[in-house]
Structure formats: C-alpha cells, structure tokens
C-alpha cells in the first residue's frame, strides 16, 4: 500500500503530522501510523490547558491488541481536543489528516518547527519503515 501524506503538513519520526495555523497547530497521527495500528478503538487525549514539551507523550491511542503513545511534535499548550474521537475513534482510520485530528495547541517555540520533516522526506521515511515492517 502506498503511504499517503498531506502536502500541507510537517511530520515527526514517530509518525505524527502537524498543520500550522498562525501561532497554533493541529496534530494527529499519519496514514502510515493508523494503518500499522489497524482499527483504532480509543484515543486518550489530554485536558485543555495542559502543557507539554516537544516530543513528550500527550495521549494514548489504542487498537484491540496494542496501545501506543502519541507525542506532541512541538512544545505547547493544549487549546482544544477532538471530542468527536470519543464516540467515533474510527475517524482516525478513515480520515487521519482531517476529521481524525487529535489536538489543537499553542506553539511555544516556533524554532522547533525546523526539527520536523517535509512531506517528501516523510514519505520516503515511512515507506522505508513499511518495508522493514514486512518480511
């Protein structure tokens, strides 16, 4: 399966995407990540107002047989969480870059944006990971 990326996002090595809107950003997990997890059954999200360092785990995503942390791509304060995911976790599988977003947060240090991958670099990175994951 080809790895789908969103051209308007930046990416982390732990397979999160980031979409910047002014001083704020949306984040969620990539198509590659949702595909490796298979059916998402639950997403545990932080409280609005919580703050995290760059790369700090801020939530947990669960399938039937696995639970994985999700990491905030940049340091920041949580402004909004996607409450739809509570009733419809399948949105993460169906529309990872759209309705399956996780949180909106306030960017604390814009310099950290330089640490992220652009879509092409990430696509290559994820495809390599995909190859290694299969025999």
């Amino acid at each position: 399966m080809p790895v789908q990326v969103d051209e308007n996002c930046l990416y982390t090595e732990s397979h999160e995407w980031l979409r910047i809107e002014g001083e704020e950003a949306y984040t969620g997990i990539t198509d590659f990540a949702q595909d490796s997890l298979s059916d998402v059954v639950y997403v545990e999200l932080p409280d609005v107002g919580d703050t995290f360092e760059q790369g700090e785990p801020y939530g947990v995503i669960e399938s039937v047989k696995a639970a994985s942390d999700c990491y905030l791509p940049l340091a920041g304060e949580i402004l909004e969480v996607n409450e739809e995911l509570e009733v419809s976790p399948e949105l993460v599988n169906e529309d990872p870059y759209g309705e399956g977003w996780f949180v909106r947060f306030k960017i604390e240090d814009p310099d950290q944006i330089n640490d992220l991958m652009d879509p092409d670099t990430y696509k290559e990175y994820a495809e390599k990971a995909q190859e290694e994951g299969t025999h």
């Binding site: 059916d39 059954v41 639950y42 039937v64 976790p89 025999h135």
Partner: protein, 491 residues
C-alpha cells in the same frame, strides 16, 4: 449455538432457592432513606439455572475435553482426587478467624506444604499467602524493596527484566515503585550477558528472570547472571511460572535466586477454573526470609501424635512486608496441591518434570520441520515456533490457531513472547499421551498443507465451534459490558 442471557429467562415472582421462613419476631427496619427501592436480579427456577449453566459449560474447551497446549500455562490434567480432598467438609466449613486450636488440621496442611515447597526449591522459607502468580510476584518485588530499604540502601531503583519476560514482571515492577530496564536476548535465547554487564551498578535493585524462560529455554548462563547481579548488590527474582520443568531437576535457590513465586495452579496441578482461583506462594532465601508476606504457619515445639495443645501457629515474619490479602492464602487450592505432592513424592515429581520436557522436545523435533524454529536447541517443558509458512504469506499465527480449534485442539499461546514474530508457544505438559502428541503434530502438518493449498480454510476458521470469529473491534468501541433490558420490553 447461542444461549439466552440468564435475565432473558426471568419471569417475575420466581426464585430458584429454598429458604427458611422467619422464625423470630421481626424488628423495625432502618429508616427508608437507608433502604433500596428495587433490585433487578433474574427471577428463574432452579432447573432453569442448572440447564442454563450446563448449556454454557458445553460451549467451553477444557483440559477434560481435549488437548490444551497453551504455552506458559501448564494445562495438565487435574487429578480428580484433588477435588475430592478440597471438598471435605472439615476443610470447607472452617472460618479463618476460628481459634488456632480448633483448626490444627488446616494449619498442619499449610505448614507441610510450606515445607514441601522449601524442599523442592531449596529456599529457606515459604509464605502461602499470595493468591496468584502475579500476586506472588508483587510480594517478591516488594520484599526486594524492603530489603534494600532496611539497609538504608535507598538509591536502588532499577529492576532488570529480559525482553522475553511475562507482562506481569514489568507491571509488578512499576507497582512496587521500581524502574524497569529491559535486557536483550542473545542468539541462543539466553539473556545477553554483555547487555547485563552494562546495567549492574549501585542503582541496581534486582533482576527478574523466568528460567526456563518463555522460549522454553533454560538460561545457560544462569550462574553467571546471578553472580553478576549479587556482586552489584542486587537480588534475583525468579518467576516460577515454568517450574513444571524443574521439580527435582534443580533447585532455584542453589542457582542463586533469592525469591521466587510458585504457581500452584500450573505446576502442582490445581485446575485453573476458567481464570482462577490460582495460588502464588513465595519462597525466599536466607536474606529475604524475614521479609515474606504473612502470616505464615510455624510449628511450635515438637510435633506429637496425640498432643491436643496447639502445635501450629500463625505468625508474621520478623520484617514482613505485611499482608497482601485478607486471611492466609487460597486454602482450597492449597489442599489440592498438597494432595498432588503427597501422591507423587519426590520421585513422581521428578518423573513429572522429565515427562513434560520429553513431550515438549518430541513435539519440537517433529514440528521444527514444518514451522520455523527460531532457536535450534533442546527445549525444556515448552518451545516457541514461528507461525508462518513460506508459501502462504497471507497466513498468520492467528489463522493457524483458529484452524486448530476445528480439530478439537486448544490453540497454543500466540504472539508471545514478543521477541519472536508470529510466535506460537507450545506446552504439551507431561499428562498427554504419545497418541495425542502425534495427533497434534499431524494436525499442525495438515494445517500447513492447507495453508499452501486452501488458505481460506484457515482464514475462515473456526467453523466447528459454538461461534465463529468475533468482532473484537466492535466490542472495544461500543463497550457493552452488562446486560440491560431494552426500553419498553418486559424482561
């Protein structure tokens, strides 16, 4: 095949039990605000109850029905005499707070089981209190914590755990406030001693080692491992889940383990009950004996046949971590393990372990020609295969497992240990006949053949079971965790 929920059998006004009438003058009830309004329990007859549960029982697989080679679970046959022993009214009908003098029989049995487990393991002392393996584990890890603390050695926070360990090991470690560091395995399936060397320092609280490990392999460097950990001031925890390979074969205390739990519901043949009750006694070496959870049973003075004064007593070990549950232990389970040990004796228990190891090696020798064997060595009581077939890339370990169900065999433990891809962990136990082992081996070959020729047989399996594959995703997303009457219907 489905069976209604017990509530669906309910008809208002019925009761399936037969109780006495009130034979004393009634007293005033407490004020209304302390009383309940309604109680929604089923209202069924006794025959409804019996038939309902008999129907449910028929939807289960058990050791008494067929082969159950579930790795690390030791699903051996449970001798029926054990059940009879545990049902003797003189045991069943005793209260935990009776005066010790009135339950000397119980205390004697517990004391002797402590002694038997000491003899088999080489430990200095044993506490029967923990209710299950993981519970014994928690007790053991807390003992290690107390030990370091009692010496003012409070910086020791690291617990080493091999990557092949049961999930209970890291979970117990966290509950006891330790930080876990995972150790890698080497190419022979042992703990990587070089990796271990990097972590032995003055932060080390101890190490948890399952031996034989979850690959069914006896760690060839066990003496080196226990020496390194002890030299660094750490203590060795033994996970006794796999002790069925070791009875009379070797004593964990001699190998350098300081504390270990036993699973009476695995090794000592007490049935697993569909998820318990278990029993997880803990044995401890000299340095840790005083820290055992309690109370334990001690023998006071000399034991004489006709002595009516209390000889056995309950006592808290000197520096005990305290109690890990109410009362003393899983007494009903303890009786079964006691009976088992008394009937087998030292020789019978050694034969048991030998039989378990023989059966596992026999199956391994046949099946390694059909499925990849990641570690080519003699195994102990169990072994791990990779559940994949070269010419059938879409077939997974899960499919093989589900297909086994169609042949009347309980699937092996799968996807564990995590270090083997598509793991199938097979533990035949000593009570299976050669005929059954051959049937299993033939079936596994047959399934491999089907995987190559008709993989849909595997993907669609099971078809010969009360239900077919169930939608676990729906269950996790919707969380229907109890029966509730539908709106507007009469239950």
């Amino acid at each position: 095949m489905t069976e209604p929920i017990i509530y669906e059998l309910s008809v208002s006004g019925r009761c399936g039990a037969h109780l006495p009438d009130l034979d004393v003058p009634p007293s005033d009830l407490p004020p209304q605000e302390l009383l309940r309004d309604d109680l929604d329990l089923p209202e069924v007859s006794e025959s409804d109850v019996m038939r309902h549960y008999v129907h449910l029982s028929q939807m289960n697989h058990g050791v008494d029905i067929g082969f159950y080679p579930l790795g690390s679970c030791t699903m051996k046959y449970n001798p029926k005499v054990n059940e009879d022993a545990a049902r003797l009214p003189g045991f069943v009908e005793t209260h935990p707070y009776q005066p010790e003098a009135s339950v000397q029989g119980n205390l004697r049995l517990m004391y002797e089981l402590q002694e038997f487990l000491k003899a088999l393991s080489g430990f200095q002392a044993v506490s029967l209190q923990p209710a299950a393996g993981a519970h014994g584990e928690l007790a053991g890890v807390l003992m290690i914590r107390s030990y370091h603390e009692s010496r003012g050695d409070t910086d020791r926070k690291i617990m080493l755990i091999p990557d092949s360990a049961h999930g209970t090991n890291p979970a117990s470690t966290s509950m006891a406030g330790f930080e876990m560091v995972e150790l890698e395995s080497d190419e022979r399936g042992n703990v990587d001693v070089n990796d271990l060397r990097k972590h032995v320092n003055d932060q080390l609280a101890g190490m948890m080692l399952t031996n034989p490990n979850t690959l069914g392999l006896f760690d060839e460097n066990v003496l080196e491992i226990t020496r390194l950990v002890h030299e660094a001031g750490g203590l060795m925890y033994g996970d006794g889940a796999n002790f069925n390979a070791l009875m009379g074969v070797t004593k964990p205390a001699d190998l350098g383990f300081d504390v270990m739990h036993f699973n009476l519901h695995k090794t000592f043949s007490t049935p697993h009950g569909g998820g318990g009750p278990g029993s997880g006694p803990v044995g401890a070496s000299k340095v840790l004996a005083d820290f055992l959870p309690g109370p334990v049973v001690v023998l006071e003075g000399r034991k004489t046949e006709k002595d009516l004064t209390p000889t056995y007593r309950l006592e808290m070990p000197a520096k005990s971590i305290g109690r890990v549950k109410a009362f003393y232990g899983q007494f009903g389970v303890i009786i079964k393990a006691y009976t088992y040990i008394r009937m087998l004796g030292a020789k019978g228990l050694l034969e048991t372990s030998k039989g378990a190891v023989l059966n596992a090696n026999y199956l391994q020798a046949i099946l390694k020609e059909v499925y990849p064997l990641p570690f080519e060595r003699l195994c102990m009581h169990e072994f791990v295969l990779e559940g994949r077939i070269e010419e059938a890339p879409d077939v997974q370990a899960l499919d093989i497992c589900k297909r086994l169900i169609d042949f009347g065999i309980h699937p092996p433990t799968n996807y564990f240990p995590l270090i083997v891809p598509e793991a199938l962990m097979i533990e035949p136990t000593e009570t299976e006949s050669k005929r059954m082992l051959d049937y299993f081996a033939d079936t596994m070959e047959q399934i491999a053949k089907e995987a190559r020729e008709k993989p849909e047989l595997l993907h669609n399996a099971p078809v010969n079971a009360p239900v077919r594959r169930l939608d676990e995703v729906w269950a996790a997303r919707n969380l229907v965790l109890r029966w509730q009457k539908e709106e507007g219907t009469e239950a």
